[in-house]
């Protein structure tokens, strides 16, 4: 028998275990194994190796599940306790945005009036107004950055969109 035939048989023996193979190949391999002792022994050895691998039992440490459940429940409690604080923070940011938007025309007038009374150049009170307007936004950016840092170690593989 040609060496190539045995090579193909060994390849198919591995393929059948790793990813399966088409029926035609299975039929060819079956016929070959019936006539070739060497390849049949190789197939038996492969199956024995896999059986050995599957038979290895690793004893679980005592109470591992119980200890883990306890830790997970503690962590869940911590997260639950932190949740209202986070919500309050976002609520405050939202209110700040809305209030800033609604009151902007009045505050502009107020800055203009105060600027005129104090005799400040126009650009000074305009900068003051700009800061008043941007500070809440900067605060939100700071909160977002803090959140990102907190979750900074979250790798991309954990997201399921891949």
């Amino acid at each position: 028998m040609s060496e190539n035939i045995h090579q193909r048989a060994l390849q198919l023996i591995a393929q059948a275990r790793v990813e399966g193979m088409p029926e035609t190949d299975a039929a060819w391999l079956g016929a070959h194994l019936d006539t070739c002792d060497s390849c049949a022994a190789h197939a038996r050895q492969t199956d024995r190796s896999l059986r050995s691998l599957r038979s290895v039992a690793i004893p679980l440490p005592d109470g591992l599940a119980r200890r883990t459940q306890f830790r997970v429940r503690l962590r869940a409690q911590e997260l639950r306790e932190r949740e209202p604080q986070r919500r309050a923070l976002w609520f405050a940011c939202g209110v700040s945005w809305i209030f800033g938007g609604v009151s902007a025309p009045y505050v502009w007038s107020l800055f203009q009036l105060l600027g005129a009374r104090a005799g400040l150049p126009k650009f000074v009170w305009e900068i003051g107004f700009g800061l008043w307007w941007t500070i809440p936004a900067l605060f939100v950016v700071a909160v977002l950055l803090m959140e990102k840092v907190r979750q900074g170690d979250e790798p991309a593989w954990m997201r399921q969109d891949s």
Binding site: E19, S52, L53, I58, R75, M158, Q160
Partner: protein
């Protein structure tokens, strides 16, 4: 006969969706059940990947904490165990990186110039102590001869019975790489077990 296959795949998809919904809510009872259900498989995988029982215990607990914290990212479209193993594996990689500033793959790839041995083979293996039965010790000693990168795919495919595409997800590598590692791993396994090379 598509009937039973369809029935079981629908059942598994439903189960995955139920788990995803429970994890979104951080349902403590669901988490308790999952820890019970997957404890053996996860611990076994971690023991094989880390080669150390104590470390595997630490990673086991850490993995479940991650499941709690990031459970909302599991969408139930894939098997839960594949996601679970991916979390566990990447925790180990992060730990390896913090130690050596390299990934598990490069550290364990036998084709690299200086492969990391997760288990120091010159010392008695902690994993060896985990396995009490004599036959299992023999099998384990043989497994230790196989590079960790191949041992891992063998465990995922033939012990955990993950599909090749699921393994690609867990390992974050292309399907073709999973296959080539499996073929090489199978070769190594056959060669490593007593009498394997002779046959």
């Amino acid at each position: 006969m598509p009937g039973p296959t369809l029935f079981f795949s629908t059942l598994m998809a439903d189960e995955a969706k139920t788990i995803a919904r429970g994890l979104q809510r951080r349902d403590p009872d669901l988490l308790d059940r999952l820890i019970e259900q997957y404890q053996y498989r996860l611990f076994r995988y971690l023991v094989y990947v880390t080669g150390n029982q104590e470390r595997a215990e630490d990673f086991f607990q850490e993995t479940w904490i991650r499941v709690l914290e990031r459970g909302h990212q599991y969408d139930g479209k894939s098997k839960f165990e594949a996601w679970l193993f991916a979390i566990a594996r990447h925790l180990v990689i992060d730990w390896q990186r913090s130690k050596k500033a390299q990934s598990l793959d490069t550290l364990t790839d036998p084709e690299q110039e200086h492969p990391l041995q997760l288990v120091n083979e010159s010392e008695p293996s902690p994993l060896h102590q985990v396995l009490s039965n004599e036959t299992e010790k023999t099998v384990h000693a043989s497994l230790q001869k196989i590079p960790a990168i191949y041992r891992e795919v063998l465990v995922l495919r033939f012990q955990e019975e993950l599909q090749i595409d699921e393994m690609a997800g867990v390992l974050s590598i292309p399907i073709s790489t999973v296959k080539s590692r499996l073929y090489r791993g199978l070769d190594a396994l056959r060669g490593a077990l007593p009498g394997g090379a002779a046959s």
